[in-house]
Amino acid sequence: MLIGAFTGFATAYLTGSLWAGVFAACLIGILAGLLMALMTVYLGVNQHVSGLGITLFCTGLAYYAFRVIFGTPSHPPQITPFDQVNLMGDVAVLGPIFRQYPLTYYAIVLVPVVWVILYRTNFGLKIRAVGENPEAADAAGINVYGVRTVSLMIAGAFMGVAGAFLTLSTLGFFTFDIIAGRGWVCIALVIFANWIPQRVLLGAFIFGGVQALQLRLQLTGVKFPYELFLTLPYVVTIIALTIANRNAAYPAALLKPYKRE
């Protein structure tokens, strides 16, 4: 169910950002994934609406929990974030590029791992089969519900860690608008990348690049409507979606709940 996870992504992303510790974030992400699975896989509820519901639920819960635990502090509670790891020493050009947070390296390594799982393992074959044609997969003896549930849990775990990256690596604190719709962006990213893991990496660099570039442009003090520049990734995704739609690279059973009769 490659992206039956869809909105579950955004969801888990939000939950994960509160708890210190990647592991806890991972766990809470898995829980959100399970909830998503319960709603969409077992009860067969519309995925858009339930995904949105879970997102709102988790956001509310994260805010609520924050207030309960920390009250309303005048300064956001701080933690010491991860240090950056330097792989290349002081080599020119490459040095600064390879000074990154540990989680960034794991994220990049994850891309080939996901690719191998999806395209070179039995489990990946099952995931893709369930995504393309659940009826046939079921007839071939694959547990459609099981595969979809596990996929959602894995997706949830990833999203949880992604949220934790923001709090634990880059910022060191939690603010209310910390996620700023990044979970939705990643849905756009997957569509942009036509569901191919290595292209997701490329897309992520482009999206990230646009963000970084506009910050630079702001710093130069040139009068420039940088906000409009920030809409570019979204506009590009809509265009990409329009073009990609022609090639129909969607998993055929995307967004379709499967009911065993």
Binding site: L35, L38, M39, L43, G44, V45, N46, H48, V49, S50, L52, G53, I54, L56, F57, C58, T59, G60, L61, Y63, Y64, R67, V68, G181, W184, V185, I187, A188, I191, P225, E227, L228, L230, T231, Y234, V235, T237, I238, L241, T242, N245, L255
Partner: protein
């Protein structure tokens, strides 16, 4: 001894209206867990949540104020969903309506309410229509999935608002990132003097009545529902599905735009960042809880007004974080969605 068996068949008719009520009860049981966490008496909490808002006129009016935009966003979403068009973009369309209203409101300087009011309404509606146009055309002409495009349009307009407020529209007097106040004549009149309850409330009720008529009593509604339940069959029986969906999507966007103009002309009187504060997304919950039925949407919107007012009361009285309101709303959506599945089953007595 008789045994019960669950079989797949439509549940008896009385179950349907009972479901939202049952869902509310289940939700409050679930949220007990979160309330217990802050170590306050849950009964007190529910008292402040559900009963206290009715004990004072001020908070009862506030309930209606909170329900006003939800009438409209709920109506917008229900209308589109009814035709099988999953418009997730009410949030953005609302903002587009707000931008249109904030612009026109300033242009109308020195006008009279008799001219300004209808113009504001039309302008807000058109703003929403315009923002709904791109995803609607892409869907109808090229078959691009509307869920993702409407969602992306929501993000785009956030940046446009931020651009307008930091750039050309920044209030020249205060230099705050907010647009100049709209003209006196463009402000929606108050229903109750010195309160925040404004004409938008009536506009919401009228809109709900109109879409009820459109969906249930008009030829267009018949086509719309046909397109929503079985597009193939509808096409076969001569319905122009494309045009029907296009019209539905644009009207839906327009209604969301009305909510935006209401917030500008009735509450804020200028454009601010984050004007919508999830009203569009909450509209999806309201529409779902109301089972896409305009009357149900109205009731759900009022109930949500109660939850929002109640969560403020709880927060003031017991120190429970306001966000409890959001938790309750979202949990309610999930529980209702789950419970609607139950309507496909009925309990059968055997032997």
């Amino acid at each position: 001894m008789s045994k019960f068996r669950i079989e797949k068949a439509p549940a008896p008719a009385w179950v349907r209206p009972a479901i939202p009520v049952a869902a509310v009860v289940v939700t409050f049981v679930i949220t007990l867990v979160f309330i217990a966490w802050v170590k306050v008496n849950p009964l007190h909490t529910y008292y402040y949540f559900l009963v206290a808002p009715f004990t004072s006129t001020v908070s009862m009016i506030e309930l209606l104020v909170k329900a006003t935009p939800l009438f409209l966003t709920g109506a917008a979403v229900a209308f589109a969903f009814k035709a099988g068009y999953y418009n997730i973009g009410a949030e953005g369309q609302l903002t587009a309506g707000a931008i249109a209203g904030a612009w026109l409101g300033v242009v109308l300087e020195g006008s009279t309410p008799w001219i300004s009011l209808p113009l504001m309404i039309i302008c807000g509606f058109l703003g929403g229509v315009l923002w709904a146009m791109v995803p609607a055309l892409l869907k109808v002409k090229l078959g691009v999935d509307e869920v993702v495009t409407t969602l992306l349009m929501n993000s785009i307009i956030v940046y446009i608002v931020s651009y307008l407020l930091n750039g050309p529209w920044r209030d020249p007097v205060s230099m705050w990132p907010q647009s100049p106040d709209i003209d006196q004549s463009a402000m929606f009149f108050k229903l109750i003097p010195r309160s925040r309850l404004h004409f938008g409330f009536i506009l919401g009720l009228i809109t709900l009545a109109v879409i009820w008529y459109l969906i249930n009593r008009s030829g267009f509604g018949l086509k719309m529902r046909a397109a929503g339940s079985n597009a193939e069959a509808a096409r076969f029986s001569g319905v122009n599905v494309g045009n029907t969906i296009l019209a539905t999507a644009l009207i839906s966007g327009g209604i969301a735009g009305l909510a935006g103009v209401g917030e500008v002309a009735g509450i804020h009187f200028h454009l601010i960042p984050g004007l919508s504060s999830n009203l569009g997304y909450t509209g999806i919950i309201v529409a779902t809880l109301g089972a896409l039925n305009p009357i149900g949407v109205g009731i759900a919107a009022l109930f949500f007004g109660l939850i929002e007012t109640g969560s403020l009361t709880v927060s003031r009285a017991l120190g429970v974080p306001v966000y409890l309101g959001q938790v309750v709303q979202a949990a309610l959506l999930l529980v209702t969605l789950g419970m609607f599945v139950l309507t496909n089953y009925r309990l059968k007595r055997e032997g």
